[in-house]
């Protein structure tokens, strides 16, 4: 296999591994830009993945599964909102609680429903999202350079991959070009001013966490009904936290977050390929180092060595109306 082919394969894998990160990072962004810390991405993703796989198995349609995933994650978002926005509870604790709860609940319900040790039954072709082949992908396959880029890299992914990449400019547009986005950002920076303008802070924050729920639900469904063919216990394996790191790395903005997700996805894809590979001059690269790189890079960024990451001003603070 020549180098070009290898690069195409690696980038192809990168698109696949970064898709759930992109969706979840955007989800985190909507929530945090409105002032609600969302550490629950991991647990919500897990809940979404489970619902999608379980419902898709019963109904036989990935789309119904996707809807179930989104319904689950919206419900979890509302729970998070109920604790943090309505009852002004601690947002970090609420997020951790949802993560732990979902880690147990998905396995418990999985065993009760399917008795396969926490797994859901394998989905057949019809109940999963299938790759979409672009028109003419077969025909241009042998065109040098551009052919493989079109037919292997761009074509042949499932619908959710494309949705994730469209979601980034869409999120940007909503966030920076609509009244809703302006209010959402304002409520995360200075809720007092928004309240003075006669806009309900609580309602605004609830809407933001619902947006967050929709996006993270898609990322969960992607894991179990598009990338994989069933739900596995704790299948998110820290992806929610990586998405969180990517969102922070992207300084709470859609396009930089996309770049961070692609970088982290690339590291993930490369880690599996680098196993046991000896690089000239460096020696064998420890896979664990590559796996830890997203976290290390995020810490370095947060330390202020790669520009400054400034969170929304009112992040983590419940809004108390003066009496």
């Amino acid at each position: 296999m020549d180098t070009f082919q290898l690069i195409i394969l690696l980038l192809d894998a990168t698109l696949r591994t970064s898709t759930p990160l992109i969706l979840a990072a955007l989800a985190g962004m909507f929530s945090e830009r409105s002032g609600t810390i969302n550490l629950a991405l991991e647990g919500m993703m897990l809940g979404g993945a489970f619902s999608a796989a379980a419902v898709a198995f019963y109904v036989g349609s990935p789309w119904v599964g996707l809807l179930a995933a989104i319904a689950t994650t919206i419900a979890l978002s509302l729970l998070h909102g109920f604790a943090c926005i309505t009852h002004k509870g601690n947002q970090v604790v609420s997020g951790m609680a949802i993560n732990i709860l979902m880690s147990g609940l998905t396995a418990l319900v999985g065993i009760a429903l399917f008795a396969q040790g926490g797994k859901t039954p394998a989905l057949d072709k019809g109940s999963r999202f299938q790759p979409i082949t672009f028109p003419g992908a077969e025909a241009v396959k042998d065109v040098p350079v551009l052919g493989p880029i079109y037919s292997e890299l761009l074509s042949g992914h499932n619908i959710l991959v494309y949705v994730a990449f469209i979601a980034v400019p869409a999120a940007w547009w909503v966030m920076y070009r609509t009244r809703f986005g302006l209010r959402l950002r304002a409520v995360g920076e200075n809720p007092g001013a928004v309240d003075t303008a006669g806009i309900g802070v609580v309602a605004m924050r609830y809407r933001a966490v619902i947006c967050s729920g929709v996006l993270v639900g898609m990322s969960g469904a992607y894991l179990s009904t598009a990338q994989g063919a069933s739900f596995l216990q704790d299948m998110t394996a820290g992806k929610g936290y990586i998405a969180l790191a990517a969102m922070v790395f992207g300084k709470w903005r859609p396009f930089p977050a996309l770049a961070a997700c692609l970088l982290f996805g690339f590291l993930d894809a490369a880690a599996t390929r680098l196993q046991g590979v000896v690089l000239p001059g460096i020696g064998e690269v420890p896979v664990q180092l590559v796996q830890a790189l997203p976290y290390i890079l995020t810490v370095i960024l947060l330390a202020g060595f790669i520009g400054r990451a400034i969170p929304p001003k009112a992040l983590g603070r419940a809004y108390v109306k003066e009496r």
Partner: protein
């Protein structure tokens, strides 16, 4: 705002947390019902499994030991206004310290080794907490995010070390060599046996006693020393602390390092007391449960002890449960944990306004009665 009366202490630290705990348990019961089992039976098995026979007690207290350490760790940082979510990673790296000391200084006699192992755990755990602490204190990076990142970094680092460095030659499993027999913490049943008392064998070891001692020391430290006072001041109001001549950054670092050291003591129980070697993921989520333990215990060592006992009971009883009822796996305990954290931690204010209203009405009526 209408007139309210401040809630007395017994409601604030007693009744309200209990009310929240009750709600968490009721919802857990509903989950049990939903998966088609009988909640009453589950509670019976849980309680029997945790306290029903002598061996069960030992296991319950063994789990309790871990939760005391991680609960105290979270509490100390919390008194300084910090969320240390990194107990998991700090304990993991602390375990590395204990293991290295026990493996490479195995010529030391046990009493000296005990001190050396404690110091090694403290140093490794505190060092792992130092970086996020420094970044929070001096560069303003949020400690919640950095400690989460450090948990993952610790996990990768330890897998690397266990697979490539610590694994004995020829072994396939990624775990360290066994530590020498004379360097292991004695089991309580062995100590009792030496004193002529018959006890069922369990993993409960000397570190439980150590956990109690440390609890008292943390209580003394937080409420009866200058540093403890300074830490609480910084936690309550960092700006006021600055005006009082305290440098918040300094105490943020101190509190986090103490927190890291406390979580690392969990490794004494696990590595030196029970497993006798370093295992992958030996921290098994105890660090995260420490958050729940501290929040339920209102960040006071005595409360933490009670909450740790509750979680120890859930762990041991839960293990029994998965034997008795196959449809209920250990995950039920994880669900209960999540619900307890949710209701006692995140939704702790849910009942407060209502309880305050009821209590105020009751007091006003009483006052009126006395006046008449």
């Amino acid at each position: 705002m209408s007139k309210t009366v401040e809630l007395p202490r017994w409601i604030d630290v007693g009744a309200l947390p209990l009310l929240n705990l009750l709600l968490a348990l009721v919802v857990s019961g509903l989950v049990v019902l939903a998966i088609g089992e009988n909640p009453v039976e589950v509670v019976e098995i849980l309680l029997y499994g945790a306290f029903g026979y002598e061996e069960a007690w030992g296991y319950t207290l063994y789990y309790t030991t871990n939760f005391i350490f991680t609960g105290l760790a979270f509490a100390v940082a919390f008194h300084c206004g910090l969320f240390n979510i990194g107990a998991e990673g700090q304990a993991y790296v602390g375990g590395l310290g204990v293991t290295l000391a026990a493996l490479y200084l195995d010529f030391l006699p046990f009493p000296i080794m005990l001190v050396v192992a404690m110091l090694a755990a403290m140093i490794f755990g505190a060092a792992w907490a130092y970086i996020p602490a420094y970044l929070q204190a001096r560069r303003g990076s949020h400690v919640v995010i950095t400690t989460i990142m450090f948990n993952f970094i610790a996990s990768s680092l330890m897998v690397y070390l266990l697979v490539n460095v610590l694994r004995p030659e020829g072994s396939m499993t990624p775990e360290s060599e066994q530590i020498a027999e004379h360097l292991r913490l004695p089991f309580i049943h062995d100590i009792a046996g030496a004193l002529g008392i018959e006890m069922a064998s369990s993993p409960l070891n000397l570190s439980f006693v150590y956990a109690i001692v440390i609890s008292v020391m943390v209580w003394l430290f937080i409420w009866h020393t200058r540093w403890g006072y300074a830490i609480r001041t910084v936690g309550a109001n960092a700006v006021a602390a600055t005006y009082a001549g305290l440098e918040p950054g300094r105490f943020i670092i101190i509190a986090m390092m103490i927190s890291g050291a406390l979580s690392s003591f969990m490794a004494l129980n696990e590595v030196m007391g029970v497993q006798h070697r370093l295992l992958i993921d030996f921290t098994a989520g105890y660090g995260f449960v420490g958050i729940a333990v501290a929040l339920m215990g209102r960040n006071h060592p005595f409360g933490i002890f009670l909450a740790a006992l509750l979680f120890g009971m859930l762990y041991q009883g839960g293990a029994e449960l998965s034997f008795e009822i196959p449809t209920i796996s250990n995950d039920m305990v994880v669900v209960i944990q999540g619900l307890v954290i949710l209701f006692t931690g995140a939704m702790e204010h849910m009942f407060r306004p209502r309880v305050t209203k009821i209590y105020t009405a009751w007091r006003l009526r009483q006052d009126a009665g006395e006046a008449a």
